[in-house]
């Protein structure tokens, strides 16, 4: 799959099975079990949410579940930390606007 490191001088990547999921209703592929954020970035998607007041694009910052910069809407739930949440088949992922639709 494009977007993933395949050859590396030191590391060998063991990945789960390929699954389909949806970003803004568009079908894309990713590896099951990797964080949703990894799948999105491999697919070239870097804007994860839109800020509350000034509508500014937001991306991840820490990638280890510490900063809350990566909150998105997943399967209708707001504020899912996508740098930690593992990808599963059929997930529906959306950019979150501000604090999200569903509170």
């Amino acid at each position: 799959m494009k977007g993933y490191i395949t050859e590396h001088p030191i590391l060998e990547f063991k990945r789960g099975k390929k699954v389909k999921f949806y970003f803004e209703d568009k079908e894309i592929e990713g590896y099951e079990g990797l964080p949703i954020a990894a799948a999105l970035h491999a697919a070239g998607i870097r804007v994860l949410s839109i800020s509350e007041r000034y509508n500014r694009p937001r991306g991840f910052f820490c990638a280890v579940g510490k900063c809350s910069s990566c909150l998105m809407e997943v399967d209708g739930n707001s504020n899912v930390m996508v740098c930690m949440e593992p990808l599963r088949s059929g997930m529906r992922v959306r950019r979150q606007k501000g604090k999200g639709q569903k509170q």
Binding site: R46, R58, G59, C62, N77
Partner: protein, 379 residues
């Protein structure tokens, strides 16, 4: 973290009482964080025969080590020449062998008045209680403020290292690195290994912050290091497309007319870490501001005991240093926690004496003077 708890504050004491604690017996020692510090603490305490649990929010143990593909420095006793990822494997195997209880994918979200922890795992919040807590949660990366620093593409250097070395995904094609400490020198080298371009490393001081070997390696690879430079702006519509850097004067003021635009789609911030001591604030531990140790740090004595006699700390959470010292502090915390609960014995005593000896060896290097004076200040 999932969201079925989103309407209530999952951290409220009322909420936590709704969960039964029967499945989770009381422990002697509970360790928060499964990095090198927490793992060593757990291994030592278990070897001394205490009843231990380690809680970590990742699917695998090892903390920062799981993304360190480079070989470590130091003495043989401290895994010199061994890659971080392999040290993580050695420690994890020991934890398995000793049959230490481990709670993975579990985040400690609160410390309550009755000395209970609130733990969130797969949407469930439950309490865990232990006689002694050892906090080894590590640190988080510092942010830097400049124009458009909120644009996607401005990432923590460690964050990109995680994406790249743990998940095998590189979130960009060309990087600019801010800061020339060890992280700022090592991550760009690993980016090159993953086939990503590195435009430059910039450093506001007039000398490189990290070890000479790391700097020499990255320079040999053709990456320029600009000293006395800082970033003033990120450019781009939805994501970073370029960065504007400038030279600084003696008072770190921006020197007009020296601005340069560097094309890049990632700006990696590697300007330092801050200890994760929120839970210790909640626990009522004394927190001191000691810049040498990384900012706000939990007060601790030479036994790694905080201002509360049942709470210990070790590793980056106690002071921003390195894996070798984190492991030694972990050993001391583990053994001292055991001694606090039971009694000092020959074995626990030996562990502490040996760890202290090795610590003072490492800290006698000129690089470590800062740490020593910081620890001195706190006492």
């Amino acid at each position: 973290m999932n969201s079925s708890t989103k309407n209530q504050d999952p951290r409220s004491q009322k909420n936590i009482q709704n969960f039964s604690s029967s499945k989770f017996p009381n422990f002697d020692i509970c360790i928060i964080g499964g990095g090198p510090a927490g793992l060593e603490a757990g291994i030592v305490a278990k070897e001394l025969d205490a009843n231990v649990i380690i809680i970590d929010d990742n699917p695998v143990l090892g903390g920062q080590l799981i993304k360190q593909t480079h070989k470590f420095f130091g003495s043989k006793a401290h895994y010199c020449g061994v890659r971080g990822i392999d040290i993580a494997k050695i420690l994890t195997d020991m934890v398995d062998e000793l049959k230490i209880d481990v709670l993975n994918n579990a985040t400690v979200v609160g410390y309550y008045d009755d000395d209970t922890l609130g733990v969130l795992k797969e949407d469930k919040l439950f309490p865990i209680k232990a006689k002694i807590y050892i906090f080894a949660a590590g640190a988080s990366e510092n942010m830097l403020v400049f124009e458009n620093s909120d644009l996607p593409g401005v990432y923590g250097a460690g964050a990109v290292q995680t994406m790249m070395n743990v998940y095998g995904v590189v979130p960009g094609k060309r990087a600019l690195v801010i800061g020339s400490g060890n992280i700022g020198l090592i991550v760009p080298y690993q980016l090159l290994q993953a086939g990503v371009e590195v435009a430059a490393i910039i450093e506001i001081l007039d000398k490189i912050g990290g070890y000479y070997v790391h700097a020499a390696k990255i320079k040999r690879a053709g990456v320029p290091i600009y000293l006395r430079h800082t970033i003033i702006q990120a450019k781009g519509k939805d994501c970073v497309e370029a960065a504007v850097i400038t030279q600084v004067g003696d008072k770190f003021e921006n020197l007009k007319g020296t601005e340069k635009t560097i094309e890049c789609d990632m700006i990696l911030i590697a300007i330092g870490l801050s200890p994760l001591c929120e839970l210790l604030y909640q626990a009522g531990c004394r927190i001191d501001y000691v810049p040498e140790l990384g900012g706000n740090v939990p007060y601790h004595n030479e036994n790694m005991m905080t201002s509360k006699s049942h709470i210990f700390v070790c590793g980056d959470l106690a002071c921003i240093e390195e894996a070798s010292t984190a492991m030694l502090e972990g050993k001391i915390a583990g053994a001292k926690a055991y001694e606090t609960l039971y009694k000092e014995n020959k074995k626990s005593n030996e562990i502490i004496v040996q760890a202290n000896k090795e610590l003072s060896n490492i800290r006698s290097s000129p690089f470590e003077q800062r740490i020593l004076s910081g620890k001195e200040k706190m006492r």
